[in-house]
Assembly symmetry: C2
Homo-oligomer: 340 residues x 2
Amino acid sequence: MSSSKVTIKDIAKSLGISIATVSRALNGSPEIHPDTRERVLSVAKALHYKPNVQARNLLKRRNNMIGVVVPEFITFFFPEIIIGIQEVVNEEGYQVLICQSNESSDLERKNIEMLEASMVEGLIVSVTKESKNIDLYERLIEEQMPIVFVNRVFPQLHANQVIIDDRKWAFKAVEHLIKCGYKRIAHLAGNEHLSITKERLHGYLDALQTYHVPVQESLIMYVGVQQDRAKIGVDYLLSLKEKPDAIFAVNDPIATGCVLELKRRGFSIPEDIAVVGFSESPIGKILGLTSVSQPTFEMGRIAARTLLNQMRNYAIPVETITLDAKLNIRSSSLPLKKKH
Amino acid sequence: MSSSKVTIKDIAKSLGISIATVSRALNGSPEIHPDTRERVLSVAKALHYKPNVQARNLLKRRNNMIGVVVPEFITFFFPEIIIGIQEVVNEEGYQVLICQSNESSDLERKNIEMLEASMVEGLIVSVTKESKNIDLYERLIEEQMPIVFVNRVFPQLHANQVIIDDRKWAFKAVEHLIKCGYKRIAHLAGNEHLSITKERLHGYLDALQTYHVPVQESLIMYVGVQQDRAKIGVDYLLSLKEKPDAIFAVNDPIATGCVLELKRRGFSIPEDIAVVGFSESPIGKILGLTSVSQPTFEMGRIAARTLLNQMRNYAIPVETITLDAKLNIRSSSLPLKKKH
DNA sequence: CTGAAAGCGCTAACAT
DNA sequence: ATGTTAGCGCTTTCAG
């Protein structure tokens, strides 16, 4: 009934002592008589006293909140990162305000401004597929807002980043296809301005070059990162005179979309066309998709630790943390039987 | 650089006016001279003034935050509900603190206590598979904390609920199997104390009874709600002398697990065994799983609206809102060819 | 060991 | 239309 309207003043009154003493007792200050402490604590419990965090925050000029902005949290990827983040920061007494920008830079901006208004003490961000809002982040950094980018980053920003070596792992994925004997390897790339798009495209080109496979512009198409965008890629690739015998997709949603569309059209995978994804997903695993798995939980944990460090000492140098990954080979890409 | 340490006092000083006037100008009070308002606003902008929400909250005794606790947010289901919630409450100026209990009642309790300490103004909860902590929620309700349960509820609690009619839709799912001609329909149920487990089991029994299909205890097994739990169910059902010809699973993760395990063992679906799920998932759709689809986003929106109503007026009566659902028939359950 | 008092940043009477 | 003042609930000097 009283519903936490009890303040230290009430405790003080009920005990005939000053609020300062109550405060000290409650905060376990050493300079207080054990008896007094006892009495305060018992009255506090009896009255169902709950400290008013707001007041304390106002005084201390902090609020123990950090903000997280991700492009979406419908697929497993960002939720896993978020769980990693929460694991670490909750342990340190911080709360997380989670926002999803739904891949829209406008909403992303609104989210960030909302979080600023809520006075979060730090931010962990993965940017939208549009990768706009650089000005926003530049301002944040200039104003010394602790901030860490994860997975989808702005390389040109002087900010903390937690990523994997997308270029290297894209290289490995394509190298695997080449070693399987595939000759015409297409690449369905993500949104043009996205960091992961560029890196993975780079890795793709690196691999072709390393193994002296001629690059064909016609086998590269920017389709985006969402599953429903795969169809136009497949439509296009199958419309070519010389069709590809393998597809390296920018991520698992696109690869998944490819598999479904190819199967719908009656193609066998990998016999007719092999498919390789990136950022291994549960669906991809079920479909037998070869893919690069990322340490999502760990990315979250490390991003959180990096952020906390920066919050405690803004002066520490900015760093890019590159985590390890793994290429898991499954049935969507198998060594070709025929000689080459 | 100044990093938002600017207060209304600074603005007042810089303009030689009182802080009250500044406050009024900033808050768009009508009783202020337009010129003054102009000058305040421009100085505020020049100084990069940001209001201190903490102070305002302290004064108004609120903090515009609501808490959400879900058992997990790795699968699409709860994230979609959360998006629905955020849509509504953000619009009204509220922030959402999202916690996941990882299906553990202990963590659930910690989360709730954390949210209480953060002084959230209301809660939206979906309980863990363990369905404990009733005492906790009873206390919360007694202390007049506005609270709405979604999907996984405590029927015995006098609290707002947003659900679908699990019993009815389970009935429809099983009825569909019966009409397809399946004779030995097994049920892999969820965790025993979970509300959805009981309701869906009820619906299963209702359907058998309605169509005069004898209930066989041996065809019912409580396996839980997580995909990896499906295997023991399949192991058990296939160990029976008289094997089932269809499985009604408590949810899509279990149904998915069944499909994968059955296929691994070389069974054809639905020829050898049909499988039907519940709470249609993206993976289920890809696997061609017949399932009941729930209006997740809408559940979130409605839960949020209900909560806001209760927050604004605690006196309004508690209600159980039952949303519509839909049975989507796919290839995992097809009419049997053979005569019966 | 305890109390008095100042103040975190802001709003809202109450004056003028 | 503007200023003065009193807090919101709490912590923290500064005095005893």
